[in-house]
Amino acid sequence: MTGFFSLLFFESGWNVHSFVDYGLSVLRHRGGSLSLICWKSGDRVSCEEYGNGETRDRPRSRAVVTALLDRRRVDEHVVRGDRVAVVSDRPSRYLGEVAGIVEKALASAKPHEELSKHLRVLKDVDVPTFTAVSSREEVVAWRSSLGLTPLAVGGYGFDMAVTSTETSLIEVLDADVRRHLLPGEGLYISKNQVRLFNSGSSSRCRLCLFELLYTARHDSIVDGVSVYEFRKKLGESLGRYLESRVDAIVGVPETAIPYAIGLSRSTGVPLEFGFVSTAREARSMLKECVRDRLVAVHLKLNPVRRVLEGKSIAVVDDSMVTGSTLKTVAQLLRYRIGVREIHVFIASPKLVSTCPYGVVALDPETLISAHLDELSIEKYLDVDSVNWLRDEDVDSVADLFRIRLCAACFGRDLVGEGR
């Protein structure tokens, strides 16, 4: 998973570096190992890894695009020409074409009209959400006509405009969230003009369930939906699968906490903080190799011993990918703490497929639910039961928040079905 943001300072005199630094820290939880910055350099655009001494000494630029990307797939995320650099939030083979459209549009008198016209032609093609910066210090941010990933706009006084994958970034940068862009909607920003444009949404447009489930921060709002509230509601829905008597509910840090709160709320079973993390921003699933993933899991899981000892525990997590996090948790609880029973509650259906849109990098070979049946998973994890949400549970929560979700990786390619 990746994320990006763009900044355009209308007024001069701003040093962009602290904004870039803190913006990147906000997006770090989304995974992505490469911090990339694109901005004007001389009379062209340059993109480079951010953070070394050299990038910091650069003269000030009015407009910047910054992204956290998967280092291994950077070529599918970025197209850089002399005049325009385009960065997308998921890998795409259409980026070259997009860069051509953007470059031509920015050379015209009415960039927003040109962008709208040419992106409209690609309405039913899977063009990802992107942001672009030009050598004339213009920014374009456009949300895929399929939706899938979010994009929000914010403002700071009379001085700055910001677009971002997450609203929490806008708030952390002391700016105010103006609104989210709709699928197919874009924004052209320069010193002399800000124009909204709309190239039309696809009838198949949906929001990635994984964004709400795992990727976004609890404090973000995605398409008007509070991520925290959404997670709590899914957690509440888990209550109907609680059949055994349990003494306490614990969530796997950090993402699973709102789900655990929801489950506790709907069942009346007390919620306990069962683990203390040693590393911050330990997003284990997003680590690119097994070793890193285990290091992250181990670092975020020091148990609070007395809360759990001798009890029957419901362990809540947002999803089960390889099962290795839950396996670690189960081992800890069973062998080191000595709990009586372990019941696992997963706040999503079974992950069975890779993401056809490249939003989430899932290797189908490593998805445990795609390869083992429930009984085998229980045995492997060494737990007393494993419970998943069903499709209809997710659908009713989605209805509650009036959003349409893509659940392709959960075996329901609702975007593709519309084809």
């Binding site: 209308f10 009415k110 706009v153 700071y156």
Partner: protein, 503 residues
Amino acid sequence: MKVLLVGSGGREHALAKLITSSQMSAKLYVLSDYANPGLMREAELSGGKLFVATTTFPENVVKIAELVSPDLVVVGPEEPQFHGVVDYLRERGFYVFGASRRCSSIERSKVFARYLMWKHSIPGRLYYVAFKSLDDAREFVKYAGDVVVKPARQVGGKGVRVIKDTKAFLSEAKHQVKSEAAFKTFEEISKYGDVDYSVLVEQRVDGVEYTAQVVTDGSYVLPLPLVQDHPHAYELDLGYETGGMGCISGPGHLLPFIDQGEYETTQKIVREVLERLQEEVKERYTGAFAGQMMLTGLWGPTAIEYYSRFGDPEISCLLPRVESDFLEVLDRAARGALSGAKVGVSDEVVSVVKAVAPVGYPVSRDEARGHPVTVDVEKIRGLGCEVLYASVELGSDGRTYTKGSRAFEVVCSASSYEEAHRVSELAVSYVTSLDGWPLYHRSDVGSSELVEERIREAERVRRVYRSKHLRGTLGEFFTVWLPGRGVVGNPLLSPLRWEDEDS
């Protein structure tokens, strides 16, 4: 009745329409800084004439007044007031609607306006500090926190820098910007030389802005419906401060996000300022007066600044809503006989005004200037809207050219914002440039989406000020408790810089 209108832009065009639609069969003469084709047409249709001369030279204005010998002179903009045009005319026996030089100091000097509010403990006042020298301003800014840096003089509604500073980790970058803003402001103000102070540093507040306009003859105050202006240049409230890219008004005297109690508090503030101002300057205030207000968590209704005239484009918003004879109101105010006058307003009708500007406004005016533009007035009227000519002038080839500021205002009204917004967007499409130079406007002004956003924002600040009211802390702000030194109650100071000073 002969009326001489002084001023050149969209506000004057709105006034011209209000004046010429009077039952008093007005013959309108206009003295304008440039040949505004809209004003020219209004004058000629009424049997009058447009004169071009610099409106800030009192001699020019008096010369034309003596030529026309009007029954009433209406001075629209603030700069002629600041230059004593109104006084000059009154000394020569003309009836004038407009603030005298001394009365207009409530707008000219933002420091005076603040001082007046503090001197008389008028609610809705903000903390401020003003500087005459750049060094003092820069020294102070070192310790400044969450503040607004403003020019101490009115400079066409521009130059304000809102430097929100609520996150310590970004404070360093903001400190730099504040210092540069103080420098730029100082440079700008030194061109004028009619105010003591240059730089005003003011407590930053946020909330929902609105304008409360009134007409007064010095004793009787006649409130007009509230209007909300949109100062950001671009869509979604992004970008530079402008004189206003559009406004909304109605239903009734309120706005969808201001309640009756807040309206009354606002009127009380405006009345009290008018009263104290007249005491202070020892002159009668005759003309339009407006409070640029904001509903804030600190106070509820809060004064950001004052206008000694009608707002531009705020007055345009009232054009389709005023039902009674507005010229009669202006005339009675000028003659000190306003008592008992009323302005009838169509309560059920709301209005949406959109300014159309050439790209380049407000910061690259040279680029924005000199483009031929055209308006399909009939098509716009066909939609039930009006178009007002603002910063445009008649070229020698008979075409209309942009002058670099907001070129036109489209004025629409309907029974709902949804409908007024819809037609305003259509109306705007009939304003076009003839040389391909892009024009822009804000499509979000008047949209239900934006109105609803303002309602939510107002609800947020309403919870804050009501709670402060109950706890008796309205207007008070506590910056930081420094052990051993107590609570610092000066919201202009940054808690960070105080620490720095200690170490």
